[in-house]
Symmetry: C2
Subunit: 396 residues, 2 copies
C-alpha cells in the first residue's frame, strides 16, 4: 500500500473553527429570497437518501413532474428540474434553443435582463437588446418593434423583475413572437405560484423558476419547462448543446421524458428534490388558485400599510407590480438606506434588503412570498419596517 | 387586479398522487454513490435557512473554505463550491482554463474520460485523446508522449475512475505537464478524503470532488480548487468564460477570495452547504490521515473476503485500486449479473450496481466510502453479496 502515500503526513493542518457546532440563528426572511421553509420542507430534506437509479426515486421524479406541470400550467412533456440555482435556468434555456452567432433579443428593464445579456454574450450569441427604464414593463408594441428590427430566433423576457418589482404582462407575447418564428424564454424565478401564470395559454417556450421563493424550499434546484416547439428546435440544432450538464434532451431522458430507458446523466440532488416534492404537495393541498389569491390579497393589505406610512411605491401601476417582491421608494434626502436593513437584522434577525443593479440606492425590497405570505405576518412586517425607518431617520 | 387574471381557472388539474405522504424506504447505499449520510448530516440539512448576504452565512463560507483546503491539502485561495453536481466541476474546470479552439488532452481510460471528451467537444475545444484500456492507469511515459505529440494547454485526468475501479497515480504528473506549459485538471469525485491526496505537492491546477461520496452529504454541490497558475490563466483569457454561473473569478468574489467586497452572484445552496460544513467538521474530528487509513484498512479486509469467495478483481494491481469503489469481475458464463443487484435491492433494500460505460456487463461495483466504510459493515456486505451471487447462479 506504500504507493498510495499512507505514510505521508498532512501539511495543511485541520482548521479548528470547524469544531464549533454549526448553529445558524433563525431568521425572518422577508427579502427577495430565500423565503422561510416550514417544518414539512425541512423534514423532507432529511428523509432517507435514495440512489438515483432506484425505482422509488423514479416515482418521485414522476410525481415532481406532475406537480410542476400543475404549477406551470402546462402539458409540456419536458418539465423537469435543473440541478443548480435559477441561473442554470437562464443559461440552460439559451444554450439549448439558441446556437452560437444566432440572434437573441433581450428585453432589458432591470437586473435580470442585464444578467441575461451578460450570459448570452458569453455564449457567443448575437445579442440584441430592447430597453425600458427600471420600474416599467414592455408593451406588445415595444416587443413587435424589436422583433421586426432584429429578427431574433429567441427572445428573453423577465416575468418577475425582482430588482425593480415589475411583473411583466405576457398576454399575447408568445403568439406575437411565434409569428416572427421567435421562441420565448420567460424568467419566473420570483413569481411562479404567487400570481396567475399559464405557460401553455401564453404560448411560452421555455419557462423556469426558483425553488427558494414561492416554493419556500432550500436553494439549489431550478424547475424548468420546454414546449414541444422548443424541443423541436433543440432536435434540429446544427451544433451540439455546449453543455452536457444542461442539455435538455439528455436530462429529459434521465427524467423519463422521451419514453426511452433512462440513461445515467448525473447524480440528481435527491434531498433537494424531496423538498420540492413536499412543497408541490402543499400546493396541491392549498390549490393553485388559492395560492395565487393568497399572495394577491396579502400584498394589497401590505401595500396599503406602506402607503399609509406616507411612502411611495417604485412601480406606480398596481397592475404591473409583483405580488411577491415589493419595491418601496427611498424618499429623497433619506439619510442612510442601508442602515434600515442592518437595524432590522441586528435587532430582530429580520431580513429586508435594498435595491439591486439599476435600483441600488433607489428602493427597499420586501418579499412576502411562499409560506411567509400570511395575513398575520403583515402587521409585524409593517411595524418593524416603520420602526427601522423612523429610527434611522431620527439618528442621522 | 383583474389584469393579473385572478378570475381565470386552472386547466391542468392538481395531481392527486402528491397527496400521498413522501416516505422513501431507508436504503443501504453500497454502490458507487451516493453513500449514506448520518444523523449529523441530515440534521445539518434542516438547520434554519439564512440569506446569502448575511454575515453569519459568510462565516460559514469561510469555514467551509478552511475545511476544503484541509481536505484538498492546498493553500489555494480559490477553493470553493460550485452549486451543482460533480459534472459542474468537470464542465467548469475546462470552461475556465481552456478557450474555444485551444487544445485539451483527455486521458481516457473509462467513463469519466469519455464524459470529459464529450464535454470538451461541446465547448468547442480542440480535443486530443490518449487512451488506455478500462482497468489500467496512465504512466508518466504515456502522458509525456501525449504532451509532446499534442502540445495541449490543459490535460484532464481522472484520479478516481469509479467506472473501472482504478485509482490513477498522480505523482510527478503536475510537474511534467507544467514543463510543457500545460495545466492539469484532476477528477477526484469518488476518492477525495478516502486516500492520500496532496493537491499542492502534486502541482495540480484544478481539482474537484463530489459531496455524496466520501463526504457522505446529499448530492448537488461540487467542491473545487484552482491553483494560482489556473487563476492567472483565467485572468489572461482573450475571451470571456462562456458561463457566468461557473466563472471562477465571479464565484471567487462571492466566496470572498479576491479581497473585494462580495457581489451578488447567485443564491448559494445554503442547506447543502450546511451539510458539507458538518461533514468537514467530522473530518477534522477524525483527522484526514485517520480517514485515509480507515478507508484503506477496511477495503483490504473487504478485498480479502471477495477473493475468498473465489472472485477476481477487475483491477489486478492493488496499488492501482480505488479504496472507495471496488470493481469485481463477473465470472465468465455467469447467468444474469443484473439479477444480483435486483435481488439485494428487493430483499434487503441494499444497493450495489453493475458496470458503467466500458465496464457494463464486466463488473459489479461495490462502494465502501465515507461513513459506510466501517469495519463492522464488511461482514454483512460480503455475506449479502455472496448470498445474492449464489442465489442468482442457482436460479438460472
Amino acid at each position: 500500500m506504500a504507493s498510495f502515500g499512507l505514510e505521508k503526513k498532512t501539511k495543511i493542518p485541520p482548521p479548528e473553527q470547524l469544531l464549533k457546532p454549526l448553529w445558524p440563528h433563525p431568521k425572518f426572511l422577508f427579502g427577495p429570497g430565500p423565503s422561510n421553509p416550514n417544518a414539512r420542507i425541512y423534514n423532507a430534506s432529511s428523509l432517507p437518501m435514495l440512489g438515483h437509479f432506484q425505482t422509488e426515486f423514479h416515482h418521485i421524479l414522476d410525481e415532481i413532474q406532475a406537480g410542476l406541470r400543475y404549477a406551470f400550467q402546462t402539458t409540456n412533456t419536458y418539465t423537469i428540474v435543473f440541478t443548480g440555482a435559477g441561473h442554470t435556468g437562464m443559461e440552460g434555456a439559451m444554450m439549448n434553443i439558441v446556437e452560437r452567432e444566432q440572434k437573441i433579443l433581450i428585453c432589458l428593464n432591470g437586473m435580470w435582463g442585464m444578467r441575461a445579456k451578460n450570459i448570452a454574450e458569453r455564449q457567443g450569441l448575437d445579442v440584441r437588446v430592447i430597453e425600458k427604464p427600471a420600474g416599467e414593463a414592455f408593451t406588445l408594441e415595444d416587443i413587435k418593434k424589436g422583433l421586426e428590427e432584429h429578427k431574433p430566433v429567441a427572445m428573453f423576457i423577465t416575468h418577475s423583475e425582482s430588482s425593480t418589482g415589475v411583473c411583466q404582462p405576457l398576454e399575447g407575447v408568445g403568439a406575437l413572437c411565434h409569428k416572427y418564428d421567435c421562441l420565448v424564454i420567460a424568467d419566473t424565478v420570483a413569481s411562479l405560484g404567487g400570481t396567475p401564470f399559464f405557460t401553455d395559454d401564453l404560448e411560452l417556450d421555455v419557462v423556469y423558476t426558483g425553488s427558494q421563493k414561492v416554493f419556500a424550499c432550500p436553494p439549489g434546484i431550478c424547475p424548468i419547462t420546454f414546449s414541444p416547439k422548443a424541443i423541436e428546435r433543440v432536435k434540429n440544432r446544427k451544433t451540439p448543446v455546449p453543455s452536457f450538464y444542461l442539455d435538455i434532451l439528455e436530462l429529459g431522458n434521465y427524467w423519463g421524458c422521451d419514453g426511452q430507458p433512462r440513461r445515467y446523466h448525473h447524480t440528481a440532488p435527491i434531498n433537494l428534490l424531496y423538498t420540492l416534492r413536499e412543497s408541490l404537495a402543499m400546493l396541491v393541498e392549498e390549490g393553485l388558485e388559492n395560492c395565487w389569491k393568497r399572495h394577491h390579497d396579502n400584498i394589497e393589505i401590505f401595500w396599503a400599510g406602506i402607503e399609509k406610512m406616507g411612502l411611495e411605491m417604485f412601480v406606480k401601476d398596481k397592475n404591473l407590480r409583483l405580488p411577491t417582491v415589493t419595491t418601496i421608494k427611498i424618499p429623497e434626502g433619506y439619510p442612510d438606506w442601508k442602515a434600515v436593513g442592518s437595524y432590522l437584522m441586528e435587532k430582530y434577525h429580520f431580513e429586508i434588503v435594498g435595491g439591486m443593479g439599476p435600483t441600488v440606492g433607489l428602493v427597499w425590497r420586501i418579499g412576502l412570498m411562499g409560506l411567509n405570505s400570511r395575513k398575520e405576518n403583515i402587521p409585524s412586517v409593517l411595524r418593524l419596517f416603520e420602526e427601522a425607518f423612523n429610527h434611522v431617520k431620527a439618528e442621522k
